[in-house]
């Protein structure tokens, strides 16, 4: 396992979700998603034992594991060197009742549906996003295996189903220094649990996940977090 720098060239913006706290993209979650997809899994089973977690790593995630009590993968959050603000407008319409062939299949309780609010509402949303030509990740891992997995990577971020975060090229190269946990400026490069690091002056803290899946509330703990300008430099 060696320190690596992964550079990704993007052709379309990275979107951030609305109505939830923004969070940075994590390299270990990208790798695990690619591994799970190769294994034919696209959904997370809450009831099943997580074989990708850093505690056991039974699936052989090609990343080094850090920490002793609360283990995490040595893979950084996204680093965006330069970016500009952009947005994505999303319009959703409930227009299927106009299509007679579709509408007639519906078992109606009432004949009229209200599209102003409620489940069938029409909506117009503007998602925030950043346009960045190049983004970087750092990790300690197996270069060949990571390169092989990243050959499947087509898009990163949210709303990739409608063209966001399109990946054009990925370059993996070995570097001398390890920036997977602490970055060049001495700030956290990823969430580090309080139990694993005493922290330094000026570091930010938050209640967030420190291992994948990052959206799962069970994985949350008090952590030192990377500064926002690292992943949302606006």
């Amino acid at each position: 396992m060696k320190p690596l720098k992964i550079t990704i060239l993007l052709s379309s913006p990275i979107a951030f979700p609305i109505k939830v706290k923004p969070y940075p993209l994590m390299f270990d979650s990208i790798l695990i998603e690619l591994m799970a997809q190769r294994a034919g899994r696209f959904d997370y089973d809450y009831n099943e034992y997580d074989s990708y977690s850093p505690e056991n790593n039974e699936r052989g995630v090609p990343l080094a594991v850090g920490g002793t009590r609360k283990k995490f993968y040595r893979a950084s959050a996204i680093e965006v060197p330069k970016a500009e603000h952009t947005s994505l407008s999303i319009v959703s319409r409930t227009d299927w009742p106009e299509e007679q062939e579709i509408e007639k299949c519906a078992k109606w309780k009432r004949e009229v549906i209200y599209v102003g609010s409620g489940l069938y509402r029409n909506s117009r949303e503007l998602m925030p996003g950043i346009i960045a030509p190049i983004v970087n990740f750092y990790c300690v891992g197996d270069k060949e295996k990571i390169e092989d997995l990243l050959s499947d990577l087509k898009a990163i971020g949210v709303k990739t189903a409608i063209g966001m975060g399109r990946v054009e090229k990925v370059v993996v190269k070995e570097i001398a220094e390890d920036y997977s946990v602490i970055d060049k400026n001495g700030n956290p490069a990823r969430p580090i649990p309080f139990d694993e690091h005493p922290g330094r002056g000026g570091w930010l803290r938050d209640y967030c996940s420190y291992k994948p899946p990052y959206w799962l509330i069970d994985n949350k703990d008090m952590c030192w977090i990377p500064p926002m300008y690292r992943w949302y430099p606006l």
Binding site: L10, S11, S12, P13, Q37, G40, F42, D43, Y44, D45, Y46, N47, E48, E84, T86, S87, L88, S89, I90, V91, S92, R93, T94, D95, W96, E99, E101, I102, E103, K104, C105, A106, K107, W108, K109, I113, G118, L119, Y120, R121, R124, E125, L126, I131, A132, P133, I134, K154, A155, T160, A161, I162, G163, R166, E168
Partner: protein, 339 residues
């Protein structure tokens, strides 16, 4: 992966939501959906990436409109009985669904997800949300980019590259200059029609007597010029491109469903809005990543699968998915009781 090479045959309208809550001034045309894109600029030694703002059509526009057509065709082939499916499930299938305020997925959502992926290939392809259960669709649809100098670098790994190698392309600023503004104007009502609306009284001979207020010339001009809608439009004849791809390549039925989806897009042959007003019609050409042309025969497997399994699929949509809705209803009621 299927690439689509599109040429607009009519002006294309695709409205933008203004940023930062800025309201469009009264009478100003609906601005075209513009997004920042990145492009490389090289001086022979170094490459610099620059950002410009160009008109694009979002993937969700293509995906949403084609989805409705695709589901319409799917339900026709399935011969789904009338009034057999819960409207929330229809909404989930044909528009991606939604999630209400207190909706939380049941304990067995993983089981349902696996079953849906296996039994309903059209939902596996397009995804959706049902009572807090989010199902990721396997289809990715790209932005529809105009082929101009700033975007042609994106074609470097595609079969469209050779086609535009030696062609003089427009720049982003050229394209801005070529954007049309389409206006729909209110017409003056002829006297002949006035008798139906403003007839005050009938004369002794049975003729309609209409009293028309005197209007100055300025008012006449105002009425004639009174535009009620106007929108920016991309010009006809503009080359554009997009792509359709799957997250997984190991499922034959899913690949056939992708071809059926592309077939539906081809049938629609239009993108954007104002279709009823003569906008958005395209000439389309499809090809695979290796440059071979699109084979519509590959969609047959999907339609055959639907025909062979139509009873099972209809039963699943009408009974078993309804069971999932009932289980979430129960959970919601229990939650309310606890409160």
């Amino acid at each position: 992966m299927i690439y689509a090479f599109l040429t607009s045959l009519e002006p294309v309208v695709n409205g933008e939501i203004p940023e930062f809550g800025i309201r469009r001034p009264k009478g100003a045309p609906l601005s075209f959906n513009r997004r920042n894109v990145v492009y490389p600029e090289t001086d022979g030694k170094t490459v610099r990436y620059r950002i410009c703002r160009i008109p694009v059509i979002n993937g969700n526009s293509v995906r949403g409109q084609t989805r409705r057509r695709f589901i319409y065709k799917t339900l026709q082939v399935l011969e789904t009985p009338e009034k057999s499916i819960h409207p929330e499930i229809i909404h989930f299938i044909s528009a991606g669904g939604g999630t209400g305020k207190d909706d939380s997925p049941g304990q067995e959502q993983f089981k349902f997800k696996q079953e849906i992926r296996k039994k309903l290939p059209f939902v596996n392809l397009l995804g959706g949300a049902l009572r807090g259960m989010f199902l990721k669709g396997m289809l990715r649809v790209g932005f529809v980019y105009p082929i101009i100098k700033e975007t042609c670098w994106m074609l470097s790994n595609t079969p469209l590259k050779e086609r535009f190698q030696d062609v003089e392309l427009l720049t982003a600023s050229d394209l801005e200059g070529k954007l049309d503004v389409i206006r729909l104007t209110r017409c003056k009502i002829d006297d002949e029609f006035l008798k139906y609306s403003e007839a005050d009284e009938l004369s002794e001979d049975g003729e309609v007597v209409v009293e028309v207020d005197d209007e100055s010339d300025d008012d006449d001009v105002k009425r004639d010029k009174g535009a009620i809608y106007s929108a920016e439009a991309l010009p006809a004849g503009l080359p554009m491109w997009t792509y359709f791809e799957l997250c997984r390549n190991d499922d034959e039925i899913l690949e056939a469903a992708l071809h059926a989806f592309v077939e539906s897009f081809k049938e629609l042959s239009s993108i954007g809005g104002w279709k009823a007003k003569g906008c958005g019609h395209f000439a389309m050409e499809f090809m695979y990543a290796d440059g071979t042309s699109y084979n519509p025969q590959k969609a047959e497997k999907y339609w055959e699968y639907l025909k062979e399994n139509k009873n099972e699929i209809n039963y699943y949509m009408s009974k078993e998915l309804a069971e999932y809705l009932r289980s979430t209803d129960k959970a919601r009621e229990e939650k309310k009781k606890k409160k």
